[in-house]
Amino acid sequence: MTSLLAYDFVWGPVLDRWDLFLLGAWLDVWVTAISFLLACAIGIGVALLRISGARVLRGFAFGYVQFLRGVPLLVFLYWVYFGIALVIGINFSPIQAGIVALTLTGSAYTAEIFRGGLQALDAGQAEASRSLGLGRIDTYRHVLLPQMFRIVVPPLGNTLIGLLKGATLLSIIAVHDMVQVANDLNINFFTPFEAFTAVALILIVLVAALSAGLSFLERVLRLP
């Protein structure tokens, strides 16, 4: 049968290398996970600076967020990997550079989310806790932060998904993730459609799984 299309679909090379695609996807997943955890840790710190009493600290945190949210991830990746590494004389491995870029970009978003979450809490919560004799740190630890986490789960989930999508960019600096697997395949067998369809499908499945997990978490955390 002659096809209407001038293109012969050859799925063999993709299907034969399903294990490579999965390994590549796994790399994207763990790089995303590490970056997300680090971004959350930095984000909480920056959020606390953003609402602190000292003007200088607030200004610094504001500048940090505005700057990092304005730099496209691709630009940041190149900047870290080629530029900053050269100036300070550190040789980042591609994966390290990727984690640095994803973490810092992500931390600007998580900082805004945590700030929003803290400010959404009723002021009476902090006042009540202080008047019951809890110190500042205990007030945060036992009263404010636990309540905040319930609020920030949905937007944090979006950031997590955003970071996963961002991680696919890492192949540009030669990280061997699933996009790189597809690139190699495309070069060796010239099957661009099949190779990139595989990557797109994996990404869609991963994002769908994450979304499902997050809505489950939201349901669990919802107040009765």
Binding site: L5, A6, Y7, Q66, F67, R69, G70, V71, P72, L73, L74, V75, F76, Y78, W79, F82, G83, I84, L86, V87, I88, G89, G116, P154, P155, G157, N158, G162, K165, G166, T168, L169, I172, V179, A182, N183, N186, F190, P192, F193, E194, A195, F196, T197, V199, A200, L203, I204, V207, A208
Partner: protein
């Protein structure tokens, strides 16, 4: 600590012509994709609330799939994959515009949908009671109010478009990022050029965000709910905070 690195900032003004040309391409790319996805996004949003089930399902799949893909994967898929299958050579700039438009229209469709959903039920009931047909009450009463609520969210989407547009440099579009990559290759001064480009993007993004905030304030004056409960903008914001539309 002394740095072994010798800065060569003088290279940047010498290359200003190329960088400005790239900036122009970035602006064209973003503006074109923004306008096209404004239209396409509305069409998808209308399909999502259409009284015809297959159309709704199709629009739902469209928004879910395109919001799950990263622009990078999609650009590769479009520029290499689709182009090979159908034997069409889109050209780099056009491929970039198509990818940015398809991807962002999915996000915009969600903004439109949230905005249309925020219009009070009473508006529709009043329009029907006044004798307007279903179609007419939608086009003359619901839609104008909904679009007004959607404006700040839509302009915010331009922030993502400008940032995402840098990715089309990977298929060789000579935008700001593309120009920078080429300059780094010829001049061998990565730190200087990437710093300037990063700062340029930050300024661009701040300008767009400021415009969106201004619009939101001006529209907000007429759209606050008062004592009757949250106004449409507030309801829209809550919808976004729930995380259905990435902020």
């Amino acid at each position: 600590m002394t740095l072994a690195y010798v800065f060569r900032w003088e290279l940047v003004p010498e290359s200003a012509g190329l960088l400005l040309h790239g900036l122009g391409v970035t602006l064209q790319l973003s503006a074109l994709s923004f306008v096209l996805s404004l239209g396409l996004g509305l069409v998808v949003a209308l399909c999502r609330i259409a009284p015809f089930r297959p159309l709704r399902a199709l629009a739902y799949a469209y928004t879910q799939i395109f919001r799950a893909l990263s622009l990078y994967v999609y650009v590769l898929f479009l520029y290499f994959g689709i182009a090979a299958v159908f034997g069409i050579d889109l050209g780099r700039f056009a491929a970039g515009v198509v990818a940015l438009t398809l991807l962002n229209s999915a996000y915009m469709a969600e903004v439109y949908r949230a905005a249309l959903g925020s219009v009070d039920h009473g508006q529709r009931e009043a329009a029907l009671a006044l004798g307007l047909t279903h179609t007419r009450s939608f086009t003359s009463v619901i839609l104008p109010q909904g679009i007004r609520v959607a404006v700040p969210g839509l302009v915010n989407q331009l922030v993502d478009i400008v940032k995402d547009s840098s990715i089309v440099a990977v298929i060789g579009v000579f935008d700001l990022m593309g120009a920078t990559i080429q300059l780094v290759n010829t001049e061998r001064a990565p730190f200087e050029f990437y710093t300037v480009t990063a700062l340029t993007y930050v300024v661009l993004i701040l300008l767009v965000s400021a415009a969106a905030a201004l619009l939101e304030r001006r529209l907000g004056r007429h759209l606050t709910g008062g004592s009757a409960g949250p106004g449409p903008l507030e309801r829209m914001r809550r919808f976004r905070l729930r995380g259905e539309v990435p902020a």
